[in-house]
Symmetry: C2
Subunit: 218 residues, 2 copies
DNA sequence: CAATAGAATTAGGAGTGCCTAACTTTTGCT
DNA sequence: AGCAAAAGTTAGGCACTCCTAATTCTATTG
């Protein structure tokens, strides 16, 4: 039986492992807000359930089964986020936490109806791609804004969805998915960036820039 | 902390206690699909949490606190049922089970938005009154169809929401909230009723009649 | 009013998922 | 290489909610 906690763990592992790098106990503990000891226990359980491959003291990787489960949960999460924004008109900065609970309670039938009502969308409100029902996900060719060099131009394709404060800040600056931006200048001292965004310009710290992904021009 | 199980228990007690009659362990066990031993344990816990008054071997009654909690959950449940029918176009016979899970996952903010979207409705899809946010509920002056005498006329105000099979059957017969009906005849042998319903007529067993409440004319 | 059927409770145990504290393994530095 | 810090694991517990089996209480009835 796949519990809510199982789903939360595979989802977190999926996010952390990126292009299939192995994920440490402590990074999971930090992400999930529990102790390393708890993570250790859960990973043993997930290993037995063949959701992950666990190598003691060396971290875990998702199995195919684990990956599929993670993508199902992510599909739920992102469709629910979009539903909350589009149908219930919730402010985008609050929908992440809400979806975090609802993703475990919504049946396949309800999810299918939400998907239909929204017209089988491809992106959630923060620009993240929504996996297909069969677990395919569009991989974006993107760069994190804090990794860009001066002169780079592009379009914001995605922002981190989990910190409401950050999201409020980003929308105040106009740094939202779809916005055209260019990197004007980077301060030596603290890596702060001067950004042109549409007709305005703004200054972003590395912390803020790390929450924004862009797809570079050409 | 009020857990999901706590909410399920107070909701079941509320339904079973009617006009404040005391509720037995075994009736709760049957309703909730668990053993009497489990109910006994939970009732002790709810008593300590001051949600119920427990008299050992004599059943429980909700406290004011328990009643308020029950009505909050029922409000959630019924608003969600209506939302599923009205917004997601789910067939009415399936929404009960769905709402049973969602009622524990939806935040106050989302519930408020659902309520607004639906125009602060007074009734759920099965005709049951929706409690106000502060826990007031309209008490209907109603009679169960299996308790009616021949000649009685009235309007269906409510039907049981929990059995999909029954609901499919009722809608096939046209026995839905708002329908005008009259009791033509009752068979001596098995209490089967001949019912006029709009321009049609139908035959209902006591079992089916027990799922239908009517408000009598004048 | 005593026997007994039925209802309720207690005792003991399981699975989940979290914790702290203690211990082991790995890693990084000199 | 050797040692200390950091990372990971195990041991032992707790809260929750369920279960079965055994026991106790209530209510009925002859």
């Amino acid at each position: 039986m796949v519990t809510n906690a199982d789903q939360d763990y595979v989802k977190a592992i999926y996010r952390l492992q990126g292009q299939n790098r192995s994920v440490s106990t402590s990074s999971l503990a930090a992400t999930l807000g529990v102790t390393s000891a708890s993570v250790s226990g859960m990973l043993r359980k997930l290993d037995q359930a063949r959701m992950v491959n666990l190598r003691r003291y060396r971290g875990v990787r998702l199995t195919e089964r684990g990956r599929r489960t993670a993508l199902e949960v992510i599909r739920r999460h992102r469709l629910i986020e979009l539903f909350l924004v589009e149908i219930l008109r919730m402010p985008w900065e609050n929908v992440h936490g809400e979806a975090e609970r609802l993703e475990h309670a919504v049946s396949d039938e309800v999810l299918a109806r939400i998907d239909k009502l929204l017209g089988s969308p491809q992106r959630d409100p923060h620009g993240s791609p929504i996996p297909s029902p069969s677990g395919e996900i569009a991989l974006l060719d993107r760069v994190r804004l804090d990794q860009t060099a001066p002169g780079v131009r592009g379009t914001i394709c995605e922002v981190s969805d989990d910190d409401p404060e950050m999201l409020r800040h980003l929308s105040k600056l106009g740094l939202i998915p779809g916005a055209r931006i260019d990197v004007r200048e980077i301060q030596q001292i603290d890596e702060t960036r001067l950004i042109g965004c549409g007709k305005k310009r703004c200054t972003v710290s590395p912390k803020v820039a790390a929450a924004v992904w862009i797809s570079k021009d050409q």
